[in-house]
Amino acid sequence: MMKFIKNIWQALSTPSKAGVGIVLALGFAGGVIFWGGFNTALSLTNTEEFCIGCHEMNDNVYEEYKETIHYANRSGVRATCPDCHVPKDWTHKIIRKIAASKEVWGMLTGIIDTREKFVEHRKSMAMREWKRMKDNDSRECRNCHNFEYMDFSEQGSRSVKMHSSALASGEKTCIDCHKGIAHQLPDMKGVPGWH
């Protein structure tokens, strides 16, 4: 009996060269499949269809977004939900995705499952998103709207006035002025810049 255990131990502790190779190959293949699958699943959750798969998004924010310029415009270039609400680079994306798991819990418990509940929660949800954008200097806006390449001669005089002063100096960021451009606004009482 003792000998048998010793033999097994010996076989395990001194693996053959081929064994090492097989383990490595399997590990590599497994890693590729896992990593590929993980990223595929992640990018599947980063689509407009996925976002409006829940009626909370489809019936409220998506309906409102459909009237705005980020949904339909002359050239057909669009910014869909994840373009604004999920960071592009990997680290920030994962952080946002983990934070978003709270939204799954919200969906399961039905925190905004009626229009009334949604409207009631709109301000706290909007303020959270405004804070996120303010804190990261409107990073998701800037993925497309790059200040370096803004042609002031093509902008309206009102835009030039603001962009060449407050935005250029970094005193303000996109979201400070451009709130409610893709969704309706909550009660704006007490929000800076609003009446």
Binding site: E67, T68, I69, G156, S157, R158, S159, K161, M162, G180, I181, Q184, L185, P186, D187, M188, G193, W194, H195
Partner: protein, 153 residues
């Protein structure tokens, strides 16, 4: 017999109407509108959308007490119970910073002349009086001129 006559009369009347040529049935009697004439059985092609003028200098008024028109685009600017985008620039708090025209003090008055500390509810909905302009031409030529006192030299 009576029934038969009624039936015959009805039949002849319907047949008479049906036998009318199409152009008589759809005749609009020669009525023309400023936007041209259209027969009743024809759907006139809609005019192309007119473009709202992009940022311009304030547009002169044509008569005393005319609400000034909006010389810029206002797409997506909501004015409702929750927010009023116009006041984010034209409100007294922000007008200096943004360079926009301040709303007049009359907007703080109730209809019986009492001055409130904020915009009066009856003057809150800006677009009831102040409207943006498109690049349209007048449908008929006219020689209207603003009163002399409002014309800038």
């Amino acid at each position: 017999m009576k029934k038969l006559i009624t039936a015959l009369m009805l039949l002849s009347m319907t047949a008479g109407v049906m036998a009318l040529p199409d152009d008589v049935k759809a005749n609009n009697g020669g009525v023309e509108s400023l936007r041209g004439s259209a027969e009743l059985d024809v759907t006139r092609r809609a005019d192309p959308h007119k473009r709202v003028l992009k940022d311009r200098a304030p547009i002169e008024r044509n008569y005393v007490h005319q609400p000034p028109v909006v010389p810029h685009q206002i797409r997506g600017y909501r004015v409702d119970l929750n927010s009023n985008k116009c006041l984010s620039c034209h409100g007294w708090k922000y007008a200096r910073e943004t360079g926009a025209t301040k709303i007049s003090p009359t907007h703080f008055e109730t209809r019986d002349g009492m001055t409130l500390s904020d915009v009066s509810p009856r003057r809150y909905f800006c677009l009831q009086c102040h409207v943006p302009q498109v690049d349209g031409r007048p449908l008929i030529e006219n020689q209207f001129k603003a009163v002399d006192s409002l014309t800038q030299q």
